[in-house]
Amino acid sequence: MPTKIEKDAYSGTDTTGHEWDGIKELNTPLPKWWVWIFLATIVWAAGYCLLFPSFPYGPGYFRGLLGYSARTRVDNEVAAINAARAASLDRIAALPFEQIRKDPKLLELALVDGRLTFANNCQPCHGPGGQGRPGYPALAAGAWIWGGTLADIQTTVTHGIRSGDPNARQSQMPPFGSGALNPGQIQQVADYVWTKFYGHPADGRDVSAGAKIFADNCAACHGADGQGNREMGAPRLASHVHLYGDSREAIVSQVTTPRNGVMPNWNTRLDPATLKSVVLYVHSLGGGEN
C-alpha cells in the first residue's frame, strides 16, 4: 500500500511509497531502450499471430498466412521415414531369413519392427516378451507345440492354428469325457500324467491304472514318454511348462472337455515384411531353434 512518495536525498529519485521495516524502494526510471524492446516483442507477437495458426473462431481457427500445420509436418516426416525405410522393408520381404540375420543393419530394423508389431498384435494373448499365459503358449521358453525354427514360426504366424485358413495348422484333442473314459478313469490318467510327467510326488497313490489308460488313449499323439509330437501339434507333457497350467485340475478339465485354442492367420493382416520381422523377433525371444 503506497504510503508516502518522497524524494530520495542521495539519488534525487522518487521512492515507490512502499516501505518494509524502514527499507524504501526507489522508483528508478526504466531505460527507454528496454521499453522499445518490450514494444518490439509485442509487434513480433502480432506478426507471429498473423503468420502462424493462432486465433480460434466458431468451428475452426485462423490458419495463418504461411499455412503452417504441425500435423502436416508430422505427416510429411512420417512419409519421409517410410520412404527411406521402403527399400529395407522390400529387402526383408525378398531375402531369406538366413541372409537377413547376416546383415546387422537389416536385422536390427527387423527386430525393432517385429517388437512393435508384437506389442500391438501378439502381446495381448502371449504376454510381453512372449512369456505366455494359461491357454496361450509361452514363446520365450522353447516349449513349442508346432516347432521353433524360423520356418515353423513363419508357418504358424502366417496361417494360424485352427484359424479357418486352408493351410492352417490343425489338431484336435478328443473330448474323452463324452463317453470314451468315465470320470474315474479320467482321475486315474490325470494322476499318472501329474506325477509321471509334471514331476509332482505320488504320495503313495497307485498310478499303474492311469499308466495303462495313458498308453491306450494318449500315447499315440503325446508319445509314450510324454515328449509330444510336433508333427501333430500334440504338446509335450514331460515338461515344466504347460499350456493350461501346472495344476492337476487343469489336466482333468483338458481331458474331459478340451479347449482347442485358435491362433489367427496373420497373412490377411500383416504385409510380408512385417510378418517376417515379427517371426524374427519371436525367434529372438529365447526359444528360437535352428
Binding site: P128, A141, S239, H240
Partner: protein, 495 residues
C-alpha cells in the same frame, strides 16, 4: 563548469530533472583515451583473450584417421567433446559440473580478494566493448572530437567516418560469430563451406546470431549490459568486505576538492583538483569519487587518468588506487594500514575450490576407458524352460572409449553353471561371451542367462556381470539380479 563537463553530469541532472518520469533516456558515454599501467595490463589481457578465442579452433591435434584433428572441438552431432588429449562422452558431463563449480568458486575467491577484476578485464562484454571503443577512437578520434562531431549536423565527413566504424564493427562481429561456430564444427571445413554456400542453415543462422549479438552488445549496448542485464553486479557485493581490494578514491586525501587558482593551496584544500579526468575516462560514465557503485566494473582506467593529472601537478600519484575500505579508514586516521588477505571467507573459498578441483581432477585422471550397464528385462521377469531351468534376459550396453576395437569378455563369476547367449546370434551357449565393440563406440547386446540359481531369496539373487577387456585387462563390474519363482529349488530335475 565547462560545457563538456556538464554533459558528463547529465546522468545525475537528468535523474533530478525527470524525477517521477517512468522512462529514462540513455546518456551516451564518451570514454577518453588514457595511458598508464592499468591500460597496459588491460591491453595485455585483451590481446591474450582474443587471440585464444580466435585462434584456438585452428590448432590441430592428431587423433588418428577416424577422429577430428581439431584440438578443441565440441562435436555435438557425434556426441563427443575434444579438449586436446581429452575426449569426453555424454556420460562424462559431470566433469563440466565440476569445472563450473570450480570456476564459480574461483570467481568468488578472486572477487573477495581484489574485487570485480573479472568484470574489468576478462569478461567478454568488457573485452569486446574495449576493442570496439578502440576502433571507434581510431576512426572518430578521442572523446572531445567524437562529442563535437555528434553534436554537429550531418556532413560528408561524419557519414563516412560513421559508416567506416560500423563496417569495421560488423566485420569484427562477423569474425567473432564465425569463430564461435568453429568450436562446434571443423574450422577449415566450415570456413570453406561457408564461402562456397555449402554450410548448413544452422551454421549460417548461428553466425548471423552471434554477429548480431556481438555488434549490438559491444557496439551499442555496452555499459547498459553491465548495469541492466547482468546479474553478477547485483550480487557480487556479497563477496566483498572491508578488506577486499577495489578501485578506491582516497577521499581523506582528495577532499575538499578545489579547482582553479586555489587548487592545491596548502592547508584546507585536498589533492583532488576536480578536473573530472576520472569521469571522462570511465567506460561506464560514473564518478568513482562517489564510492563503490554497482556500475563500477573495476577496470582501473580512472587511476591512469588521475595519475596523469597528479604527475603533471607534481603531486603524489594513486589518489585513486587499488585499496581496501579498512586501509583507507586507517590511512585517514594515520594508523598503520592493515593488510588482511586471509579472512574466514577466503579460507572457505580456498577450501571449496580445493575440494571442487581435487574431486574433478581425481575423477578425470582415474576415469575408465570402458563402461558397462546392464538393464534387466522387466517383462517377463523370468522364463522357466521345459527342463525346469530359469532364464533371465538382460540388455547389456558396453561403452568402448578407446580408439581401437574392444574385445570384451563377459562372465558371471558368482553364478556357477550359468549359460550365456546373445539372442539372434548363431553361437553355442557358453559360460562366457565374447563381445566385440568398435573403436570409440557403444555396443548393445541382448544377453540371455540360463541356469539354476542356488541362492534365490524371495525370488531374486544378486549377480555380478564382470566385463574384461582382453587387450588391456581392465575390468568393470555391474551388479544386477537374477529372478525366479518363489520357492524355486535348484534340485528340480528335468521330467
Amino acid at each position: 563548469m565547462s560545457r563538456i563537463a556538464k554533459t558528463d553530469r547529465q546522468l545525475r541532472e537528468q535523474a533530478a530533472a525527470h524525477s517521477g518520469a517512468l522512462y529514462a533516456s540513455r546518456v551516451r558515454v564518451y570514454p577518453m583515451a588514457v595511458h598508464g599501467v592499468m591500460r597496459r595490463i588491460k591491453w595485455g589481457v585483451l590481446i591474450a583473450c582474443l587471440s585464444a578465442y580466435y585462434l584456438l579452433p585452428w590448432l590441430r591435434w592428431d587423433r588418428g584417421p577416424l577422429h577430428p584433428n581439431q584440438a578443441v572441438l565440441l562435436d555435438l552431432w557425434n556426441e563427443r567433446f575434444y579438449f586436446f588429449g581429452l575426449e569426453l562422452w555424454p556420460q562424462d558431463i559431470f566433469y563440466l559440473a565440476g569445472a563450473l563449480i570450480a570456476g564459480a568458486v574461483l570467481l568468488f575467491f578472486v572477487t573477495s580478494l581484489v574485487g570485480r577484476v573479472w568484470c574489468g578485464y576478462t569478461c567478454p562484454q568488457t573485452v569486446w566493448t574495449d576493442l570496439f571503443m578502440w576502433v571507434e577512437r581510431l576512426i572518430e578520434g578521442d572523446r572531445n572530437e567524437r562529442m563535437r562531431r555528434d553534436a554537429q549536423p550531418l556532413s560528408f565527413e561524419k557519414v563516412w567516418r560513421k559508416t567506416l566504424k560500423h563496417g569495421l564493427w560488423l566485420a569484427i562481429a562477423f569474425w567473432t560469430g564465425g569463430a564461435w561456430i568453429m568450436y562446434y564444427v571443423d574450422a577449415p571445413t566450415v570456413t570453406r563451406e561457408f564461402w562456397t554456400g555449402a554450410a548448413s542453415t544452422q551454421v549460417y543462422a548461428f553466425i548471423f546470431l552471434f554477429t548480431f549479438t556481438t555488434y549490438s552488445l559491444a557496439g551499442w549496448a555496452r555499459e547498459q549490459v553491465c548495469t541492466y542485464m547482468c546479474p553478477w553486479p547485483r550480487f557480487q557485493s556479497a563477496m566483498l568486505d572491508e578488506h577486499s581490494f577495489t578501485v578506491t578514491y582516497e577521499a581523506w586525501r582528495g577532499e575538499p576538492r578545489t579547482r582553479g587558482k586555489h587548487a592545491g593551496d596548502a592547508g584546507s584544500a585536498g589533492d583532488c583538483v576536480d578536473c573530472l579526468a576520472c569521469i571522462h575516462a570511465c567506460p561506464t560514465g560514473i564518478d568513482i569519487r562517489d564510492g563503490i557503485q554497482l556500475e563500477c566494473i573495476n577496470c582501473g582506467l580512472c587511476m591512469d587518468a588521475c595519475n596523469h593529472v597528479m604527475e603533471k601537478l607534481g603531486r603524489s600519484k594513486w589518489l585513486i588506487s587499488w585499496d581496501t575500505l579498512a586501509r583507507q579508514a586507517a590511512k585517514k586516521e594515520g594508523r598503520p594500514a592493515p593488510l588482511r588477505l586471509l579472512r574466514a571467507r577466503s579460507v572457505i573459498y580456498i577450501a571449496a575450490l580445493a575440494v571442487a578441483l581435487v574431486t574433478t581432477a581425481t575423477a578425470l585422471l582415474t576415469r575408465h576407458t570402458q563402461a558397462l550397464s546392464v538393464e534387466r528385462d522387466r517383462a517377463p521377469l523370468y522364463v522357466m524352460l521345459p527342463d525346469g531351468t530359469l532364464r533371465n534376459g538382460y540388455t547389456i550396453r558396453i561403452l568402448n572409449k578407446r580408439r581401437e576395437v574392444g574385445n570384451y569378455e563377459l562372465v558371471l563369476p558368482d553364478f556357477p553353471g550359468a549359460v550365456l547367449a546373445v539372442a539372434e546370434w548363431d553361437l553355442l551357449p557358453a559360460g562366457k561371451l565374447d563381445l566385440p565393440v568398435g573403436p570409440d563406440q557403444a555396443g548393445t547386446f541382448r544377453v540371455l542367462v540360463t541356469g539354476r540359481p542356488m541362492h534365490l531369496v524371495e525370488g531374486a539373487q544378486p549377480v555380478d556381470f564382470v566385463l574384461r577387456n582382453r587387450a588391456t585387462g581392465e575390468t568393470t563390474t555391474y551388479r544386477s539380479i537374477f529372478m525366479g519363482p518363489k520357492g524355486f529349488s535348484p534340485a528340480v530335475q528335468a521330467p
